[in-house]
């Protein structure tokens, strides 16, 4: 029971991170080409200025929760994905710092360098996150002791000894790239105005079309790479509502965007991300990290779960703390609701 609860609590943290940091990553990707003037660039950055580092907290809080609830998984996955994780860390550093510098330094040439690094780091992060999730769904070559180490790539084929990047995980990376770009574009339609808003609006349908194709490709790919992903769905057919929800959310984005309801379109995109992640989690449950080297080596919930005291102690403060955290998040977003202030110079 505790295992079930903590599995989904960690999943909730991950969804929270993807939905929230997702849109500011998306704004970062769009920063590469969407805003055309200095004023537009500022407007677009102001739309995420007050919230981006709060959004990143979900990653830290989620990582910490994973750490104490499933220490074996945390230890095995983090050391096994050593290289890509380190690259992710570097990208997070670069992204945070360029965004901050962008708000302070005002010198022509440097400005475009910072914009470029900020945008590229955002795009690469999206790709890495997608690829990371795909790595978990595909499985990794776990040894008897529950550890593994993956090179960045081998022959680009999923198999017993794959690399971080193979054709399947690359699809995962692209799904994340397009999904988060769309998510960011929808955020901009809420937060900015004028020409920039119009251009963001025009971008939505092409992105949506791309996302639909990639989503379908990734679903097929997942089934091909790890057929067992469907087991839970066949056992509990009612859960086929998840893939239906994914498609419905995509349809809603289109509909709401056409009707000029940007907030609803953005929420639909959040629902899309939620269903995609929940569907992926359900596809592996109760395994946490499948082994390509044989089912008996899978890191399962019961193998990775912390001791009972730890979990019950944790549950008490976690529920209390996250209630507070959600209250802050709601409070801050409500304070900054509506179009972003274009006139506030960054701190």
């Amino acid at each position: 029971m505790m295992g079930f609860i903590w599995f989904w609590l960690v999943a909730v943290m991950i969804v929270g991170y993807v939905v929230l940091d997702g849109f500011d990553l998306g704004v970062g990707i769009l920063h590469l080409f969407l805003p055309r003037t200095e004023a537009e660039r500022r407007a677009s950055l102001h739309s995420i200025g007050p919230v981006w580092d709060g959004n990143e907290v979900w990653l830290l809080a989620g990582g910490g929760t994973l750490y104490f609830a499933f220490p074996l998984l945390y230890a095995s996955a983090f050391s096994g994905f050593y290289l890509p994780l380190m690259i992710v860390l570097w990208l997070l550093v670069l992204r945070g710092v360029t965004l901050e510098l962008r708000n302070h330094i005002d010198m022509g040439v440097w400005q475009s360098l910072l914009d470029g690094v900020f945008g590229l780091a955002s795009a690469l992060l999206a790709i890495f996150y997608g690829a990371a999730l795909a790595n978990v769904l595909r499985g990794v070559p776990l040894g008897d002791d529950g550890y593994f180490f993956l090179p960045l790539w081998t022959n680009f084929r999923p198999g017993i000894h794959p690399g971080i990047l193979d054709w399947y995980t690359v699809i995962g990376g692209l799904v994340a790239l397009v999904a988060l770009t769309l998510h960011g574009a929808l955020w901009l339609t809420i937060k900015v105005s004028g020409d920039l808003e119009k251009r963001a609006c025009r971008l939505i349908n092409p992105l949506l079309l791309g996302l639909i194709l990639l989503t379908v490709a990734s679903l097929i790919g997942t089934i091909a790479v790890r057929p067992a992903s469907l087991n839970n769905y066949y056992q509990h057919p009612v859960t086929f509502i998840v893939p239906v929800g994914v498609l419905a959310a995509l349809a809603c984005i289109w509909q709401f965007n056409r009707n000029g309801a940007p907030v609803k379109a953005f929420l639909s995109s959040s629902v899309y991300l939620f269903f995609m992640l929940a569907g992926a989690c359900w596809g592996v449950y109760p395994t946490l990290l499948p082994a390509t080297t044989g089912v008996e080596r899978d890191i399962t919930l019961s193998r990775a779960i912390s001791g009972p005291h730890t979990l019950s102690v944790g549950l008490a403060w976690w529920l209390f703390g996250m209630t507070l955290a959600v209250a802050y998040v709601v409070f801050v977003y409500s304070r900054f609701r509506g179009k972003a202030d274009a006139d506030i110079a960054a701190h």
């Binding site: 050391s79 380190m86 302070h104 005291h309 507070l324 802050y328 701190h347």
Partner: protein, 449 residues
């Protein structure tokens, strides 16, 4: 280079660089609350601008703290996997609590504090400053709890699979080691904040620009500096030291360079520890003082390294000795400088005493060095243990990550952080030369409109 060494260097380098930022965040957070409080009560625009100026520096510093802090939480897993697997049930807990209880609070109110001044009332803005400060201090608390458990494990139970699990939430949080270390560490952060504020004040006074703010900053910096530099020695440093002596005799003996057990042990002020001959070269010793500091009597016996098995000696003994001596030496200098400055402030001569202002200006790096040396003392003193008495450092690193891969990312971090260091300096220097009087930023906004 062995994998163990690489992983140790990896963590040591990234954490040392990281902690340059939070110590200022935590110290400055408190000082900004003081500035805001005066501004709110007196309605003084000058104090409001003073607090806005420091809020800008705080903001830059905070972001550098965040981006260098994220890697820390991940490095437990990436570089110290076997340690994490066994101890996650205990120390994963305070680490997650830091995120849940502190970072959400801090980031939410920092957004309001830095971006929202026009959208909220003055009182609410003051409240945001308080919450940001509180958030940073809660964050420090959970990190200290984590470290305290590694230094002095409490409230745990060992499961059949070797994993530790926490048995009492409150005992974990109220680990006596942690409480003492917390007081000492937070005081250290206030020392850094005070010195930085006093240094910027001194710079303005010496430079002759922004003199009115120079006076505010020097005054606040010196007053807070006097209190914190005394408190860092007594009671916080004193209590913490005694507790270390009781629980980690090997660490205290190595810190003090005490190779032989002695009653009426003297304190070594200067000298170089020589591991081969097991003595201090070129020593300058004050008799009986060490016994007195630890046990309150000059005759007490202090355990030397000779009573401790060689395989339990701190593995980087000379470094530990120097770290501790640098910390303690600088701490003494801080009190002297702040007493002098406070005396001149009281006599109303500080703002024109150029040589003291110069001292205040050039002394701002020293608290950073002292705080770093203090942490090195704590962590090197814990060696060869990763969890004191329970798990050795050699058992904890990620065995799947080879030395080559570890070195690759260590070099990567070194390159990236060199860049960050430069950028940070440039950014803060710009803020300081722009000064607290609104010119550049608001003009900037006018152009953007």
């Amino acid at each position: 280079m062995t994998p163990e060494l690489i992983h140790r260097l990896h963590f040591a380098f990234t954490i040392t660089f990281h902690y340059l930022f939070p110590q200022l965040t935590m110290g400055l957070g408190l000082l900004i609350v003081m500035l805001k409080t005066v501004a709110l009560r007196s309605g003084s625009e000058e104090w409001d601008r003073a607090s806005r100026f420091w809020a800008r520096i705080f903001g830059i510093n905070f972001v550098f703290g965040v981006v260098t802090g994220i890697p820390m939480e991940f490095e437990f897993g990436t570089n110290w996997a076997r340690f994490s697997q066994l101890s996650g049930g205990v120390i994963g807990q305070p680490l997650a609590m830091e995120g849940v209880f502190s970072f959400f609070l801090e980031s939410a109110f920092l957004g309001l504090f830095l971006y929202g001044e026009k959208r909220i009332s003055k009182r609410m803005h003051w409240f945001s400053a308080v919450m940001v400060w509180l958030g940073s201090w809660i964050s420090g608390f959970f990190i200290i709890v984590t470290d305290a458990w590694m230094q002095h494990p409490v409230a745990y139970n060992r499961l059949p699979n070797g994993q530790f699990e926490v048995v009492s939430f409150w005992k974990l949080l109220l680990n006596p080691w942690g409480l003492l270390q917390y007081m000492h560490n937070m005081t250290g952060a206030v020392v850094t904040g005070s010195f930085v504020m006093a240094a910027v004040g001194a710079f303005y006074l010496l430079d002759g620009k922004n003199k009115e703010y120079g006076r505010i900053f020097t005054r606040v910096g010196v007053i807070a500096g006097l209190i914190s530099t005394i408190a860092i020695i007594f009671p916080t440093g004193d209590l913490h030291g005694k507790y270390v002596a009781k629980n980690q005799p090997a660490a205290i003996a190595a810190m003090e360079g005490l190779f032989k057990t002695e009653s009426g042990a003297g304190i070594v002020l200067i000298g170089q520890p020589n591991e081969e001959t097991q003595q201090i070269d070129n020593p300058l010793v004050v008799n009986n003082v060490l016994s007195f500091l630890i046990y309150g009597t000059t005759k007490a016996e202090v355990t030397g390294l000779d009573r401790i098995p060689r395989d339990q000696w701190p593995s980087a003994l000379p470094l530990l000795y120097y770290s501790y001596h640098i910390m303690a030496g600088l701490g003494t200098y801080f009190v002297a400088l702040m007493m002098l400055s406070a005396f001149l402030l009281w006599r109303k001569k500080l703002y024109t005493a150029r040589w003291v202002l110069w001292l205040l200006l050039i002394s701002f790096p020293f608290p950073y060095i002292a705080n770093t040396a203090g942490w090195m003392t704590a962590e090197i003193g814990r060696q060869p243990w990763l969890i004191y008495g329970l798990m050795r450092t050699s058992e904890g690193f990620s065995h799947v990550v080879s030395a080559g891969n570890g070195l690759f990312t260590l070099i990567g971090f070194m390159g990236l952080y060199s860049l960050l260091g430069l950028l940070f300096t440039v950014l803060v220097y710009r803020e300081i030369s722009n000064g607290p009087t609104p010119k550049a930023p608001e003009l900037h906004a006018a152009i953007a409109d």
